[in-house]
Amino acid sequence: MHIPDGFLDTRTWGALYGVSGGTTAYALYKVRDRLEGKKIPMLGITAAFIFAAQMLNFPVAGGTSGHFLGALLACTLLGPLEGYLVMVVVLLVQCLFFADGGLTVLGANIFNMGIIAGLLSYYLMMLVKVPLSRRIGEKRALLSSVAIFSWISVVMASAATALELAISGTVPLHVTLTAMLGVYSLIGVGEAMITTIVVGVVLQSRPDLVYAWRGPALTPARSAGEVA
């Protein structure tokens, strides 16, 4: 889903640089109040795992491949803003060192894969997960909402990409939207499987390392407990 240089017009990628830049500054500003030393290695590991997993393209229908995205995974494990920052790191490294995703459209790629697939999907997930956990229990609620929303995260990001291509005048929305949604709803199944398995494994061994586990819904108010 990494957009290359040339797909978006200056107005669109410029605006998205603004949004992503502002969100990154805000995330750093908020995270500094609650980030404790022992979480730093987890940022590194999550980023490394997502980078490696994104290299593993798996075939989907019709000579197309897809790969894991990992944005919702990062937010679920680390907290939304920390997860977002991890995605920024991964996308920055891919852009600068691997020519994967253009430099002009880095802001757009961060918007699609960090803000839409990460932050927005995480908050939507928590809107469902919190009431659900009262009905079916915390563990089943978390794992089922992770499965559903990791699929949604990929599909939403692909819709955002199609929209940006249309706004840029590259290709009309009616031409790409169904094609993008079709491919990425298949890739999203892989995303849901990987995300659910990884969250399940971490939950089994170290539930304290899963932020969304009995975590706060929409407030970052966990800091007081975490510092102790």
Binding site: P4, L28, I45, T46, F97
Partner: protein
Amino acid sequence: MMAFKLKESFSRNRGLWIFAGAGLLVAVLLAVFVSPWASSSPDGLEKVARDKGFAKKAEDTQPAWKHSPLKDYSVSGVRNEKASTGISGLLGVLITVGFALLVGLLAWGLGVRKRNREDAARSGPAG
């Protein structure tokens, strides 16, 4: 002072470091030994771009950043394609870990500095 606190925090969380080491090992194994066998078919967006005829727009555009040392997940000079991908994957994992740790340390350091300033302000001009 900052480094000392960090060391203390790490030594108090040995289990966490074992977990982190295992996670890093998984990432390295995936990047080095699995990625060379990943599908090389175009990804979703690439495929749509080819099918709908706008892939040309990217091909006709000069990339804004031309100095990616590991362009297309390969190491120049390594002839074996699988080895080239694997080595680029290893380097990518290490670079990513480094960047993420830097961002974490930056945010953490800003927080420590802010709390120290607040403590100093609370304990009054004498403190």
